[in-house]
């Protein structure tokens, strides 16, 4: 095979070979997506409104967030948590609850999966602020980050997820909303 032929074949292959060519691979990435969704779903359970653990003594999400100050990882972030987040903790708590609940919900059913994979990475990066807190294991955060990266890279909702079912419909729709969903899936 000449170099030119090889280039032609690989170009063709890049266009036609799917990201996950075997059924086993597709099942595996579906399991990863559902598993990640279930982890978020379980993890949101200990975010308890309306005060999210703000009290004397502090507990729950408030205590966890305060570790970003008492066990500082990155000074500017610790400053932000101390001056902005903790004084306005109700808003922050609700934001965390809604984002994590949505992560669980949307990753579980595989809808707008790439968007939520990016959100999962962002939320994991936020959680890195408590890396120095007692009993934290930094590998868990790195693993979370990598899992969401894999979900994004493989467009995991297209396999046994609603993205796979609904994406062709969105692609044929001219609406702005459908175009957004095509990108998000």
């Amino acid at each position: 095979m000449t170099g030119t032929d090889y280039a032609a074949v690989t170009d063709y292959a890049a266009d036609t070979v799917p990201i996950l060519p075997s059924r086993m691979n597709r099942a595996a990435i579906a399991i990863v997506r559902v598993g990640a969704g279930l982890l978020w779903l379980q993890n949101v359970g200990w975010k308890i409104p309306p005060d999210f653990g703000r009290g004397d003594p502090p507990s729950g999400l408030y205590l966890s967030a305060s570790y970003a100050v008492s066990h500082e990882v990155f000074h500017p972030y610790a400053w932000l948590v101390e001056r902005v987040v903790l004084p306005n903790f109700t808003i922050f708590g609700w934001l965390v609850l809604l984002v994590e609940a949505s992560l669980g919900a949307f990753l579980l059913i595989g809808l707008a999966t790439r968007f939520w994979a990016v959100m999962g990475m962002a939320q994991t990066i936020v959680m890195l602020s408590v890396l120095n807190a007692p009993h934290e294991w930094y590998w868990s955060y790195v693993l979370m980050l990598l899992v969401h990266l894999a979900l994004f890279a493989t467009a995991a909702g297209r396999y046994a997820g609603l993205d796979g079912l609904l994406r062709p419909e969105w692609q044929h729709s001219g609406s702005w909303w459908a175009r957004c969903l095509v990108r998000a899936s």
Partner: protein, 150 residues
């Protein structure tokens, strides 16, 4: 709707499948998830993925079975009704949590998350225009990667 081609590559046993079949199977699966979530009434500790208690058990079973029936009968109206039911239950659970208790539904934020997903999923699938029965036979859903090496 002839253009409706549904990718069902990961669904086991799905060689050729109609659009309606694929949508109905997805709805059926969402219903099964809800019914299975009732198991967590009995599970506590690390493996309790979602908190299902009290009236929340009724929501999980009744709406779950309604969803299964909707998928079984290929009935979009029932799908939308079940989806709206889950979203309503999720909203009520969230409002109860905001009030400082699990309330009558007995759930927590994980319960809200599960019902949110089921509700959004059912509404999304229920709103897809269905091919007419006569047209359906011409709508072929191919497994896009079947020709690829495993």
């Amino acid at each position: 709707m002839a253009a409706l081609r549904v990718v069902v590559g990961a669904l086991p046993g799905a060689g050729v499948m109609t659009a309606r079949d694929a949508l109905d199977r997805a709805v059926l699966m969402l219903g099964v998830v809800s019914v299975v979530s009732a198991v967590f009434v009995l599970v506590h500790g690390n493996f309790q993925l979602v908190q299902i208690r009290a009236a929340g058990l009724v929501v999980a079973l009744v709406l779950g079975l309604l969803t299964v029936v909707a998928g079984w009968l290929d009935e979009p109206t029932l799908m939308l009704a079940a989806g709206a039911g889950f979203l309503l239950a999720a909203a009520v659970q969230l409002a109860l949590l905001a009030g400082g208790s699990s309330g009558l539904l007995g759930g927590n934020a994980s319960t809200f998350s599960l019902w949110l997903g089921l509700g959004v999923g059912l509404i999304a699938v229920g709103m897809v225009p269905r091919p007419e029965v006569g047209e359906e036979t011409s709508v072929e859903l191919t497994e896009p990667h079947a020709h690829e090496a495993p």
